[in-house]
């Protein structure tokens, strides 16, 4: 891992197009600003990990639970 020290107001570039600025440091929180190309997506890591976990769980349901849930929740929908 590359480790750099920056002060509030200082920036760094990732490649030619991505600029990251340290806006504010307060206690254990750092506020970062990103100047990035429109085609780049940025996600918070905990959101990313959560979805990964949910995908794994959605793929783990047994065949039987699969069909039972489909049956059960389709009926509920029409009640």
């Amino acid at each position: 891992m590359l480790i750099l020290t920056r002060k509030a107001g200082e920036s760094l570039y990732l490649g030619d197009t991505i600029k990251v600025t340290v806006l504010k440091v307060q206690g254990n929180q750092v506020k970062l600003g990103f100047d990035i190309p429109e085609e780049l997506t940025v996600y918070r890591e905990e959101v990313y990990l959560r979805i990964k976990e949910e995908n794994l769980m959605a793929a783990q349901a047994t065949k039987q639970d699969f069909f039972m849930a489909t049956e059960l929740w389709s009926r509920k929908k029409h009640e």
Partner: protein, 159 residues
């Protein structure tokens, strides 16, 4: 007559005849399954809001997904310009939204909809993308059975 456009896919619920228009390309895969690109969206039962999102290449990989709007009509998500481009969305009418479903083992009645990572599909091009929501107006999960006892994380509705 079986149309020549149908294709047999080996799925986790057995072989399935899937029509071409039910096949979806996820150019970036799904989170946790980044190498899987080709999926089929199969309705397990007529008239159901539940679907199986089955990998066309790995018979073991099939996720349960659902149409969230049947259960949560005001579900709102944000799609960035970058994501719209990846999906090649021209208008929002081309977009279909699905969410994954978690079923606790042996408890299909406790099924939960996961709202943080919706799957958005361009139905015209059959191109899909899972779009993490950094900010969500809703609680992250919807317990289908929880519509009577109010979920403690639901925003309070009183004025």
């Amino acid at each position: 007559m079986v149309t020549k456009k149908a294709r047999v896919i080996h799925s986790r619920v057995g072989p399935l005849h899937v029509e071409q228009e039910r096949l979806i390309l996820f150019p970036k895969g799904l989170l946790g399954f980044e190498t899987q690109r080709d999926f089929a969206l199969v309705r397990l039962q007529e008239d159901s809001a539940f679907f199986l999102l089955q990998s066309c290449t790995d018979p073991q990989l099939g996720l349960m997904v659902a149409d969230p709007y049947v259960y949560l009509p005001d579900y709102r998500i944000k799609i960035s310009t970058a994501e719209q481009e990846l999906l090649r969305l021209k208008t929002i009418r081309e977009a279909v939204v699905l969410v994954t479903v978690t079923i606790p083992p042996g408890k299909p009645e406790d099924a939960v909809l996961n709202l943080v990572g919706p799957l958005v599909v361009n139905i015209r091009l059959r191109r899909g993308l899972q779009i993490p929501q950094n900010q969500l107006r809703h609680p992250p999960r919807l317990h289908l059975a929880g519509d009577r006892p109010e979920d403690e994380s639901l925003p309070c509705k009183r004025q």
